[in-house]
Amino acid sequence: MDANEFDRLLKVCRISLNHDEKDRIINDIEEIIKYFNTLNEFETGNTSESYHAIRIPERLRQDKVEAFQNTNGILKNTKTYRFYVVGPKI
């Protein structure tokens, strides 16, 4: 992975690294990707993909509104203004 590609990836991830972290992580990532590449030495043919280890039965909840009693408890973890959560500009 070249430096430009790495910088593009950091931008996509919204991760900023200081100089030391960048040096350290880019070297680690090279080594890890090389290790990940060993997976491609192995032929998987037409095997299907397993998104879960077990079969998850389709079990949807009823589409009905349930009142959550502790809304103040949730808002306690945010900065609020007149019962609205304050966030950054978009």
């Binding site: 992975m1 990836l9 950091l10 996509v12 991830c13 919204r14 991760i15 900023s16 690294l17 972290e21 350290r24 992580i25 680690d28 990532i29 080594e31 890890i32 990707i33 290790y35 990940f36 060993t38 997976l39 491609n40 192995f42 998987t44 095997t47 299907s48 993909e49 397993s50 998104y51 879960h52 280890a53 077990i54 998850i56 039965p57 079990r59 949807l60 909840r61 502790n70 103040n72 408890g73 949730i74 306690k76 973890n77 945010t78 900065k79 959560v85 304050v86 966030g87 950054p88 500009k89 978009i90």
Partner: protein, 450 residues
């Protein structure tokens, strides 16, 4: 080994018992760093600890990360709720690697140390849970494993660590690492205590659609499989102790057969690709204005605000977010992410064939407990390779139990027994029969009642 829960319930507690327990624990915790906080108001019930990535109402829950500092959940995780409603009392939150990212308990602000010798690691990522179980006479720990985070520290700290089948225990209230791999489990000093807790916390939950209500089996064919490639990956010292264990298992009436699974080592890169891909999306919710750390620069442009907030992640978390985002990129997704999912299918199929006819037995870790200074010096790939024995059952969602079986040079060694999906009780019965002829050792017995 008998049930300490039954023993505790049958004993009369001396006056001031819980106060003395908290004081004794607080003192030892200064050296070992198992607990992040201790509930000083505990006054009845059997004590249980909770790994820091499980929500406990009105108790700070950080999952070992600075970015969650100050987060106070307004609800209990389902497993915490069920245990609290059954004569168990919350004792405190236990330390862990940040979001579960680590095998040695070192990727965190509060490093737990091995109770047998503080120069050695406690393992990870449920480091504090294992230390707590090793030092407290009457206690069980709720822990969590993604790729071996229960077995690994249980082995290094000499306790029993149970990771159930994926989907057996609700994940509601867990700070997610990788949803398709995360499993809530239990650590205790005996299989009996684990069984008692498992009976309470398992079962369907309307808040977690992956928590399935499948009936458990209890099949034991008295057959043990050893996997050649996994034994080859262990160091000589571990191998020679493990061979002695295999002889004892034969004496217990089991037939033992060695099998070869050529591609089992591919479980490691497949696991890390899947787990990092899932972690990179899960961690996107920590944006600086919900949960824990608050960025007050609301006038900042959104992307800059978000990026600035995420500087609170530790190095390993940043590394995994970057790699997880990379393996999901459109240009390489087929090569890494989808390939890893196919490898998982093959592993489930091939390992599953063996487990239809018996258990698989392996050492829990390929090395003896390392010193902290040695573990710190490992490169990421060297550290990931240490998970060779715990990843195969973890990526496949097979239940597994790590139990102590030897103490060379005064440090515990653990072995891991693996079974087929939902055959969890057969594993607990196996460990129970092991415990009838082998006595576990502990250096501390805080809370003992004489």
């Amino acid at each position: 080994m008998s049930s300490s829960i039954k023993e505790f319930q049958s004993k009369e507690k001396p006056e001031g018992y819980y106060k003395k327990l908290v004081n004794g624990l607080s003192e030892v915790n200064k050296q070992l760093g198992a607990f992040l906080n201790i509930n000083e108001t505990i006054k009845d019930g059997f004590p249980f600890s909770v790994k820091d990535n499980l929500c406990v109402r009105d108790v700070e829950t950080k999952a070992g990360s600075e970015i969650l500092s100050g987060y106070i959940p307004p609800f209990n995780a389902t497993c915490v709720e069920r245990l609290s409603s059954s004569k168990f009392s919350f004792l405190g939150k236990t330390s862990m690697d940040e979001f579960g990212f680590g095998s040695f308990g070192l990727n965190t602000m509060c490093v737990a140390k091995n109770p047998f010798n503080t120069a050695y690691v406690a393992g990870g990522s449920s480091s504090g849970a294992a230390v707590a179980t090793s030092i407290l006479k009457y206690h069980v720990a709720l822990a969590e494993s993604t790729g071996g985070s229960i077995s690994n520290p249980a082995a290094f700290c000499g306790v029993v660590g149970f990771t159930p089948t994926y989907g057996a225990i609700s994940r509601y209230g867990l700070v997610d690492y990788a949803n398709s791999l995360d499993k809530i489990g239990i650590m205790a000093r005996s299989s009996e205590d684990i069984r008692t807790v498992f009976d309470i916390v398992k079962g369907p939950d309307s808040y977690d659609s992956t928590c399935v209500g499948i009936k458990f089996t209890n099949v034991n064919n008295k057959k043990i499989f050893l996997i050649k490639q996994l034994l080859d990956a262990t160091d000589e010292k571990v191998r020679s102790e493990f061979d002695k264990l295999v002889s004892k298992i034969r004496e217990m009436g089991y037939s033992v057969e060695e099998k070869s699974l050529e591609f089992i080592e591919k479980a490691i890169p497949a696991y890390y690709i899947i787990s990092m891909a899932e972690a990179s999306t899960n961690l996107a919710k920590y944006n600086g204005y919900k949960y824990g750390f608050k960025n007050e620069n609301f006038s900042e442009e959104y992307n800059r605000f978000f990026t600035e907030s995420r500087s609170k992640f530790g190095v390993e978390a940043k590394r995994r977010v970057v790699l997880g985002t990379f393996v999901r990129s459109a240009s390489v997704k087929e090569k890494y992410y989808r390939k890893a999912l196919k490898v998982r299918s093959l592993l489930i199929r091939e390992i599953g064939k063996l487990l239809k006819n018996g258990f698989i037995l392996t050492p829990t870790m390929p090395i003896t407990t390392p010193k902290i200074e040695k573990a710190v010096s490992l490169t990421p790939v060297e550290a990931y390779r240490m998970d060779i024995l715990t990843i195969p059952p973890s990526i496949c969602g097979f239940p597994h139990v790590s139990f102590p079986y030897s103490y060379p040079n005064g440090m515990p060694l653990g072995a891991q027994i693996i079974s087929d999906h939902f055959n969890d009780y057969a594993l607990l019965d196996f460990v129970k029969s092991w415990e009838t002829s082998f006595r576990y050792k502990f250096k501390y017995n805080i809370g003992d009642i004489r």
